[in-house]
């Protein structure tokens, strides 16, 4: 499933095999009492779920028209296709992971995701643990109380997850899961750092797919997979991307597991994505959780990391998104930014003009808006847009 549409590479072989076995492995573990907790947005600390002895699965599946359409039974056709799919998969059962869920955690992010939550709880009768989010968390004046609120919300989530697991979540267990997740993040960060250079043993596309495999696989085993990949890369010859290839960054709405339409079109057109600002990409591994001192409270540490790590536009911190995009553009020597908005994604689409103006006027980098959904109908238009964008940046070369 990871890497669809692309020839499977050596480095991903072991991981892909492991991934294909995953649903049946989880089913077996469930018979022995394992509980599976799904979540959508990366404001949910996986550490709490792991500390409770349960398996976190990030439900970030996309790219499939069928669940997006059947989700219209609940949401409107003009709700975002990702949110519609979240319900659609559960409704039509064509997903290997959705039926394994015992409960879901829902961070209160955008309006569409909030709507999804109501249906999980009331229609599918699956327990939902909500996590409140202070949306004005970054404004100078509201920062202290926003963080306090988020800590209280995390404490509450910890209690509810502990109760659901049948054992209270101890600080010691959270510390242990923080250490595991930090190790995973460190390894993933290294993978995303490689494409900063023109010669890299791994392309961004692969790092992106590896990250997404980590949404599904038992995290301890995922760490083992990352170690295997690390060894493979150490002995691998370096892929040199031609100097003439145009280096791109992709930011915007969620690009879920299986939603590779845009990425594949960019590749086909000869563009090279080297960096991202995606909540399903490099952002998930961006920062470690740091506990201060032996006596430090792990919940405080989680709050500090998770509230500020993914600057989704559903939160009020535009400046941070602009600055961070500029930083990545410089660090990765990016020639152009692809701004992806899922159709009807109010969260990202509404912000495009501000981002475009900033990129154009402040750092002189062109950007291209691509609005799309999971239907193949617009492939022709999108191909033209991407090719024209690459022609614009690079001029016409044979």
């Amino acid at each position: 499933m990871i890497g669809s549409g692309q020839p499977s590479k050596n480095i991903l072989q072991h991981l892909n095999r492991r991934l294909s076995e995953e649903p049946s492995r989880i089913s077996e573990a469930k018979q022995k009492g394992l509980k599976v907790i799904g979540y959508f947005c990366p404001y949910i600390p996986e550490e709490l779920i792991i500390a409770a002895g349960m398996l976190p699965i990030r439900l970030a599946f996309g790219g499939n028209i069928e669940p997006a359409t059947s989700g219209e039974d609940f949401l409107k056709p003009y709700n975002c296709p990702f949110a519609r799919s979240c319900l659609g998969y559960q409704l039509i059962g064509n997903n290997d992971y959705h039926h394994l869920l015992d409960a879901v955690c829902m961070a209160q992010t955008c309006e569409s995701i909030k709507l999804v939550q109501e249906y999980w709880e009331n229609h599918f009768s699956i327990p939902v643990f909500t996590l409140g989010l202070p949306h004005t968390h970054d404004a100078f004046r509201s920062r202290p109380q926003a963080l306090e609120y988020f800590k209280l919300e995390l404490e509450l989530l910890r209690k509810r997850l502990g109760h659901f697991a049948g054992r209270p979540i101890k600080n010691r267990d959270i510390r242990r899961s923080i250490s595991l997740c930090n190790q995973i993040r460190e390894k993933l960060r290294l993978l995303f750092e490689y494409p900063q250079k023109h010669s890299t043993p791994i392309e961004w596309y692969d790092s992106f797919r590896i990250t997404q495999a980590g949404f599904l696989i038992n995290r301890r085993d995922f760490l083992t997979e990352l170690r295997i990949i690390e060894r493979e890369l150490a002995g691998k010859e370096t892929v040199v991307d031609g100097d003439r290839q145009i280096r791109l960054m992709v930011i915007g709405s969620i690009i879920g597991i299986g939603d590779y339409k845009i990425l594949d079109l960019v590749k086909e057109a000869g563009g090279n994505i080297v960096a991202d600002g995606m909540c399903t990409g490099s952002l998930t591994s961006r920062k470690n959780v740091t506990i201060f001192g032996i006596m430090g409270n792990p919940i405080d540490a989680l709050a500090e990391r998770y509230l500020y790590n993914v600057p989704c536009p559903c939160m009020t911190d535009l400046d941070k998104r602009l600055n961070r995009t500029a930083q990545i553009v410089h660090a990765y020597n990016v020639d152009g930014v692809i701004y992806y908005s899922l159709r009807f994604c109010d969260t990202w689409r509404s912000e495009y003009q501000l981002m475009k103006d900033y990129l154009h006027k402040e750092i002189h980098i062109p950007s291209l808006l691509i609005e799309s959904d999971y239907s193949p109908a617009d492939i022709g238009t999108i191909r033209t847009k991407i090719e024209a964008f690459l022609e614009m940046i690079g001029g016409l070369t044979e």
């Binding site: 003009q353 090719e387 022609e391």
Partner: protein
């Protein structure tokens, strides 16, 4: 021996081909794209060859553009219609900085710098509203007049009807009820043009309007839409006079083909 190049622009509605020699002499042909765009591309290219009495072997480089470009296997290279319209318009008038291209099924706005290089562009991809198809369906299905006569009709309008629907299909319904309530055909057509103009104008404003502005594509031949756009954008808009505006993309492709030969990548 004269070096000839060709540009073949296979659009959603029509396929255009243009053969160009070093002195700027051109031969053109246009046919409907029909259900088989790859075939239309070949046919229109063949027609152009015949018109100029050229042989295929005389054409040193062929560039295909437009939606059907990917299937044009007879071409040496493909270039997007964005770059081609930019190049063609700049060749016709080097003062061009903004191009509005309204084709059969989409509308584009392109921004050029002083050297004629594309610096920004926008393509509407919502639906066929505000495009040639919108006018075509109104002319054929509602008004029963030839497409070419719309421009002349709106010039005779005494007032303009308000068409509020943005959907091509709903707009038809709205037009029928306007006609039933006694609105004249002329006033209705004027309303139709201003409705297209306002939709395209809001798109063009997003990339910024820098004079001079040129309009290309089939809809540029409709004086009513051009006038409505001028009014909407409050700027003068030129339409190519030496070349049918539908061929600007094909011209750009043929010019790029000349570049390719000069750069030495020609066959």
């Amino acid at each position: 021996m004269d070096t000839l190049t060709a540009g073949v622009d296979i659009g959603s509605t029509t396929a255009k081909a243009l053969i160009l020699n070093k002195h700027g002499q051109m031969w053109t042909a246009i046919i409907p794209s029909g259900p088989k765009p790859p075939l239309a591309g070949k046919q229109v290219f063949q027609l152009t060859l015949e018109k100029g009495q050229h042989l295929l072997a005389d054409i040193k480089f062929i560039i295909a553009t437009g939606y059907g470009r990917v299937s044009a296997d007879f071409a040496n290279k493909t270039v997007t219609e964005i770059a081609c319209h930019g190049c063609g318009a700049y060749f016709i008038s080097p003062t061009t900085r903004t191009i509005i291209d309204i084709g059969g099924q989409d509308a584009k706005a392109i921004s050029l710098n002083e050297q004629g290089k594309v610096i920004d562009f926008i393509i509407n991809d919502k639906c066929a509203s505000g495009t040639g198809r919108f006018l075509e369906s109104a002319a054929q299905l509602v008004l029963n007049v030839p497409l070419e006569e719309l421009g002349g009709l709106s010039a005779k309008a005494t007032d303009k009807a308000t068409i509020s629907s943005t959907c091509t299909v709903f707009a038809q319904t709205e037009m029928i009820s306007l006609l039933a309530s006694g609105v004249s055909t002329e006033n209705l057509v004027a309303g139709l043009h201003s409705s297209i103009a306002s939709r395209v104008a809001s798109m063009v404003k997003r990339i910024g309007i820098r004079p001079s502005v040129m309009m290309t594509g089939g809809v540029a031949k409709n004086a009513g839409v051009v006038a409505a756009l001028k009014q909407e954008l409050n700027v003068d808009i030129t339409v190519p006079s030496t070349l049918d505006p539908q061929f600007v993309g094909a011209l750009g492709a043929a010019l790029f083909a000349q570049d390719m030969i000069e750069k030495g990548s020609g066959s």
